[in-house]
């Protein structure tokens, strides 16, 4: 009963702030709304009993990702943003099909996943050992190859970030009058 109420609270909050992310014009409010979405989703995870995912949601999304956005915030052209000039309109329109594609993919994965995944098999484990242990146990035995691949992906991400970031920084240095 209470769980249901809390779920309702968090999901409403998530939806409302999700709307805020799309509709608000001031970038700083957008980031706050995004933070609110992420925290509400983490709340939903906690309600559903997925503690590890919830905590990681908080650490990775609510802190790391949003802090990065806060950094990006300092590079926002504020004169434009506060005057509500629509900038990046074309890019926004272009991104729309991609977003649709993403949704389609997620739906696909969800549908396939539901049919493939073992049902109720882990519930007992989770109750017995705890969330983290079960995730760890599976991750480091069954999916260890994927785990190692993740490190490579992260490495590539890091290198890409450094290359793109430095390049931008240099052109930026040149741009300053």
């Amino acid at each position: 009963m209470i769980q249901w109420l809390v779920f309702l609270l968090f999901s409403t909050l998530a939806v409302v702030s999700g709307l805020g992310v799309v509709l608000l014009s001031n970038p700083i409010y957008v980031i706050l709304a995004l933070l609110s979405v992420l925290v509400s989703v983490a709340g939903i995870f906690f309600v559903a009993g997925a503690e590890l995912v919830g905590a990681l949601q908080l650490i990775i999304y609510a802190v790391a990702v949003t802090v990065f956005y806060v950094f990006v915030l300092t590079a926002v052209p504020w004169e434009k943003a506060l005057k509500k000039d629509p900038f990046y309109r074309v890019e926004g329109l272009l991104s729309f099909p991609l977003v649709l594609l993403l949704y389609a993919e997620m739906l696909l994965v969800f549908l396939i996943g539901v049919s493939v995944s073992p049902k109720g098999q882990f519930r007992e484990f989770v109750r017995q050992f705890g969330n983290t242990e079960v995730v760890g146990g599976i991750l480091f035995s069954k999916y260890f190859l994927a785990f190692e691949l993740v490190s490579l992906v992260l490495l590539i991400g890091m290198i890409g970030a450094v290359i793109i970031g430095r390049k931008e920084a240099q052109t930026y240095e040149g741009d300053t009058p």
Partner: protein, 123 residues
């Protein structure tokens, strides 16, 4: 149930924080002085009226690195918990994982991504 307590605590703290926000406007005096709300900048006319303008910091890459390392940590936390049961295999797994990411760190280091704001050579 544990998280309900957290939620309850959150609600209580929210109320208290709101009290702190509004207590001064309730209890404090109200004076009017032409320059009392002038932003502090050492008592002289502001050169730029708004400080909310663009602020260059070269360290936003650190934000990106934080993200990457947090993801790494997200994978390592389950590992630390179950390491006891994994044995040598787990050690090798983790060692490789960290080795690869250390390479990434070294790469970022060499490229100067870990530097603060400005690179000496560009000056």
């Amino acid at each position: 149930m544990g998280y309900m307590a957290l939620l309850l605590f959150f609600g209580v703290m929210l109320v208290i924080a709101l009290v702190f926000v509004f207590v001064n406007s309730l209890l404090g005096p109200k004076t009017s002085d032409a320059l009392q709300d002038y932003p502090y900048e050492c008592g002289v006319p502001l050169y730029d009226k708004s400080a909310q303008s663009t602020f260059h910091q070269g360290y936003y890459l650190l934000g990106l690195l934080l993200l990457l390392f947090d993801i790494e940590a997200a994978f390592l936390f389950p590992w630390t918990v179950v390491y006891r049961y994994l044995g040598l295999f787990g050690f090798v797994e983790m060692f490789l994982f960290i080795l690869i990411l250390t390479y990434g760190l070294l790469y970022a280091w060499r490229k100067g991504a870990l530097n603060w704001q400005y690179e000496e050579e560009s000056l």
